[in-house]
Amino acid sequence: MQEIRRKYVIPGDKIIEGNFRPLSNVIRSGNMLIATRIGIAEVGRDGAKVIPLSGVYIPRVNDLVIGKIIDHSSLSWEVDINSCFSAHLPAQDVFGRDFSPARDDMSKHLAIGDMITARILAFDRTRDPMLTLQEKDLGKIPRGELLKISATRVPRLIGKRGSMIQTIEQATQTRVLIGQNGIVVVTGRNSEGTKLAVRAIRMVEEEAHTANLTQKIRALLNVPETTQEQAPNTAPPKSQEVETAIEEVEEELEVEKGEKL
């Protein structure tokens, strides 16, 4: 294994001393690297970071988000993306360059209360995030069950290369749309499947920091253990379970930004 050291931290806690690069949620104070959030601190070859366990979603360019239309001016829609800033979606993005407020009725297309999947096109310290729907699979969400989870748990819910969410989808016959901003929409053929998917998602949210979450989810969904996620090519040592658990957490938590449509 690489030299990854991990521990639970709260703001102000010292992570490690020495010449490490401070990455997300870490600052340098003299010779010490300090955590600035509650979460799991990780020290690796590229530096020290803290994977946060709480906090409002802060927009990032290229993130896929699920938003709610809350207002519109003559030129754009205002979209609530469950963050500290409202985003805006220019009318031109939807109607095209020759958009005319007199001719094109904005609320017929997207009304207040409508939910959309969108991508963040632009965002910086001087202006509100700008969204686009110009991509396959983006646009108004026609139906589904809506949930809000903490944005910090989204990587865990997606899993490495989508493994966690795919497990849930397959076991419950549902399709789950996940926004990086913590908004999730579940659509399924039958209501039992949908309800079970919702329970599984809630369980991931609550136990994101624990090591044997994948097993618990599998148990909830009645999915048999597969060999894919076991330690690939080591002879079983005495602490096989611990090794497997650590690897799971490693795999899941390494995902900073999973993508899922």
């Binding site: 609530d80 207040i112 209360g113 409508d114 939910m115 969400i141 069950e145 809506l146």
Partner: protein, 275 residues
């Protein structure tokens, strides 16, 4: 001056779809029946410095009421009665939509409607709280702080006030040499009846009891009705910008009596009143 304004909460169209789906099966988003209340929890005596206090949770809505008794002048025209002042504040901790500052029209309405239910029902026998008629009477302050707002602040606040009063230990004052003195003894609040309020909202053609914040954001109109222990009506307030049919009002009134009896029994049980 009161003016129209946009709703603070905009309900997602997906949630509205789900709500209508549920309504078609006679259920609500949280699985309740139309006439069902959320779980009610009452904790007493949480503020030791108050003469009585209660923390009520109605679903996720949470309110704390505290009773403080002092002495003062009676209200004009009510020389032979103690003074009762019920106020309420929706604290900025309670919701992202509350601005700190002087009470807005919704908070003022909340306080006055809750006060009306207690006052008009004559829950407290204020004639027993007089020291010198026309000059010195007991002043009973009941102050409510809403800690978490998830709909139906009217009922949660009212139950908190009622519970706090039922469990209060009021001081016993006496006049000695023309001055008010606290004898150190305590008395129970002189109770004549237990008012219970019930709030319902109309969404489309259905009327739902004990709305959540989300249901309130979808409502066309709201009605709060208070009944006393004899099942008589003592206070009523219709709210919001929509309307009710006469039939809906009569049904809501009947539900307030019937449901009110159940809730009264629950409050008596949870506060241990009369034991």
């Amino acid at each position: 001056m009161s003016s129209s304004r946009r709703s603070a909460i905009i309900v997602e169209h997906l949630r509205k779809q789900q709500m209508w789906d549920a309504i078609s099966k006679s259920k609500r988003l949280d699985g309740r029946d139309f006439g069902e209340l959320r779980p009610l929890e009452i904790e007493l005596d949480i503020i030791k410095k108050a003469n009585g206090s209660a923390r009520v949770k109605l679903g996720d809505t949470e309110v704390i009421a505290g009773v403080k008794v002092e002495t003062g002048e009676p209200f004009e025209g009510l020389e032979n009665k103690g003074a009762l002042i019920v106020s309420a504040e929706v604290l900025p901790v309670a919701s992202p939509h509350v601005e700190p500052g002087p009470p807005d029209e919704e908070t003022v309405e909340l306080a006055r409607v809750v006060d009306r239910g207690i006052r008009e029902s004559e829950m407290i026998d204020l004639e027993k709280l007089v020291l010198v008629p026309g000059k010195v009477v007991y002043t009973v302050f009941v102050d409510c702080s809403v800690i978490n707002a998830d709909g139906n602040l009217f009922d949660a606040t009212s139950y908190a006030v009622v519970s706090a009063l039922l469990s209060s230990k009021l001081p016993v004052f006496e006049m000695q040499d023309g001055k008010v003195t606290d004898t150190g003894r305590t008395q129970e609040t002189p109770i004549t009846t237990i008012p219970v309020s019930l709030t319902a909202v109309r969404i489309g053609d259905v009327v739902l009891v004990d709305p959540t914040a989300e249901e309130e954001a979808c409502m066309d109109a709201r009605i709060t009705i208070t009944t006393n222990s004899k099942g008589e009506f003592c206070a009523l307030q219709k709210g919001h910008t929509g309307s009710f049919t006469i039939d809906q009002i009569k049904k809501a009134a009947e539900a307030s009596r019937v449901k009110g009896e159940e809730i009264r029994a629950k409050i008596v049980e949870l506060t241990g009143y009369g034991k």
